[in-house]
Symmetry: C2
Subunit: 455 residues, 2 copies
Amino acid sequence: MIDTNVLVIGSSAAGLVAATTGKRVYPDKKFTVVTKMPKTLIPCGIPYIFGSVGSSDNDILPAEKMFEASGIDIVYDEVIKLSREECLVELKSGEKIKYEKMVMCTGSTPKRPSWLKGKDLENVFTVPKDKEYLDEMQKKLEGLKRVITIGAGFIGVEISDELNKAGKEVTLIEKLPHVLGLAFDEDVASRAEALLIERGVKVMTDKSVKEIIGKNNKVEAVLMDDGEKIEADAVILALGYDPNVTLAREAGLAIRKSGFILVDEYMRTDDNKIFAVGDCAEKRDFVTRKPSNIMLASTACAEARIAGMNLYKLSAIKTFSGTISIFSTAIGKTGIGVAGLTETIARNEGFDIVTGKFEGIDRHPGTLEDTHKQFVKLVVGKESGVILGGEVYGGLSTGELTNTIGIIIENRMPINALLTAQIGTHPLLTASPAGYPLIKAAEDASSKIMFKNGS
Amino acid sequence: MIDTNVLVIGSSAAGLVAATTGKRVYPDKKFTVVTKMPKTLIPCGIPYIFGSVGSSDNDILPAEKMFEASGIDIVYDEVIKLSREECLVELKSGEKIKYEKMVMCTGSTPKRPSWLKGKDLENVFTVPKDKEYLDEMQKKLEGLKRVITIGAGFIGVEISDELNKAGKEVTLIEKLPHVLGLAFDEDVASRAEALLIERGVKVMTDKSVKEIIGKNNKVEAVLMDDGEKIEADAVILALGYDPNVTLAREAGLAIRKSGFILVDEYMRTDDNKIFAVGDCAEKRDFVTRKPSNIMLASTACAEARIAGMNLYKLSAIKTFSGTISIFSTAIGKTGIGVAGLTETIARNEGFDIVTGKFEGIDRHPGTLEDTHKQFVKLVVGKESGVILGGEVYGGLSTGELTNTIGIIIENRMPINALLTAQIGTHPLLTASPAGYPLIKAAEDASSKIMFKNGS
């Protein structure tokens, strides 16, 4: 029997940040992390082990070292039962741990939908956060040439691009009209798609998969709804992830209809001794106030910080309430990012909006090497003038520019404030001050709501 | 005699943005720009014409095209007299222009201090925004090997690095303990300095120049205060810029003791028909509320937008009042940026502050190519918790990350809001979510003001 003050379940981004933040804030408490994973992967790096990073061994989160440096105990085991009345968990090994507070960071598992015939054939893969599985998958893929990815969200796009880079023949199938079609408006999604095609990925959009066909229990082809049959040596299912909530459910914690563990603003479940953070925990959209099924390590880390700070007292009062989807990805040397609402989502939700767009370049003068086109789109509430979302397509500074837009949204900045705000520019680092796409997009949006009759 | 509604003097960043913004907002008004420059340079690109950009011909601001596209008239001439009672200016050619509103964007001129003996010798150069001068300077420099730059502010550092890149033997002399010592704290300035030295620039700090010695009226050496004599074929004075206010002064407009034209929040001079914008116009620091002598094209553009919008009615009410210094620069593939107050300035001004620092990397995993160290420092009001400034040293995304910090400062975000804020991360674009230096620096700062007794 182990006695601890704070028990953290999970050692990926959420568990790591929850435990280290908590220990920093409450140094006198004993923290114990239980994890199934002897080596935790950097989650966002997983698609890149198939190309740019080379191997999962180059994508290790130094969690163990960080726990040790912080004076946090680690137990490599699996929690199989939680008794809330006794504040006790049981591990697979038979060991038990008594806790005062708990942070559940149980993560998520790739979907392998039951309707999909052939989903369990050999060489049908998913992309879990599991080093052992991924190592075996990578080894198997070595001998296989033709890969079909089903689902063109971030994971599907990233892994397709990387496998293409690594010399595979990759076909990416998506049922929406464009790749990344949930995350981005057509303006940006179509640019990303064109780039992916240019780099050699075969993209099939507006197409649904009927089943995966096998022979001798091995993948042979994918059969489309329209009857087309595409031969394949391997299939990767990139159809999203389900939150891991079995432990929580069996312990009687409230689970939302959406499948996530119910949490409040401070990441507390309906048992106030137990916090839940990351992919397993409920999120609410910052703007629409609706449940959101975003699963991002960056979001998990923000939640983990809040849980860690609020373990024994509510100290980290959230200034921003709700989750903003801030994604970015890269295809080659091109970055693509989004923060907040897209135009499509905003209109579907009934927001009365205008958009502002501008395409410029991310260096000045454009004669400098390494100059990329930079496209910025903003979504702005028509009457409030409040900036609700933004998308960026550009060079490798896209990630940080997307974060600038995120901070703008979290501060509920109105378009007038952005128009009169100051930015810094430099020839080798940014667009020009007179043609800075973020500000020019704000001008474009403002011209639709302000300045209608000049004189 | 030309009759116009809005007269804009100057065609660089400030004039361009003031005129095009004004015309967009007041399309029925006639706009006329008077400029001395047949070809306007991109101001921030000027140091780079000596290396990366190759020639001033590759650094042209397409001002003419943009004026034409907006339906704005251009007159290539110089305003030599302003009669405010008649709302009339006189040009060098003898032509006169009658205006309703005017925007003065008369810019600045490099300092050639009168105390400096030898300042007018042949091959002693400054760095003005003047294509003809710079072309001649570049031609003369071709045959010269040993260059001394006096003054290690942004222009001095950038031009020294570029001339070094172009094969010159460059010595950079600075009287402060570090290069960029006014803009950055020692943490960052010393890193920039080490990089500059590593790239081959000879850096002499804590050293004052006594005079420039010549022979046959040509530069031969620089004599230091301590008696050392450094031989040189050319000297570049990078000692800052003086605002061009002769026209304003002669017309009786109020000029501040600091030498800048007095303006209000809406960029109006004390003659409300006349606006002043950019290097010639007074600025007030966003945080310290003291006069600021920042001269940046990005600041000028923000001011120009405000002037352009407010020409005939006060429509662009400034949400943020005052100027934040947001700079960034690059040495090779390393970016260096600052927004708001440095620790040194904050302490000198009497602010009770704490700082937060973190050094991480700007990709994740760090095994990815193109990974740079990324150092972030934040300056935070101790009791208010408000973020007053930030500095970044990192890769090429530094410019946009510095802008994120700028938006944070303009929104007066407290450290708690940043700690619980969301950012987006991606392996190829940013630091990891668990080790994102901006948030980690916020944690470091917060640990000095919050979370002192955990339990």
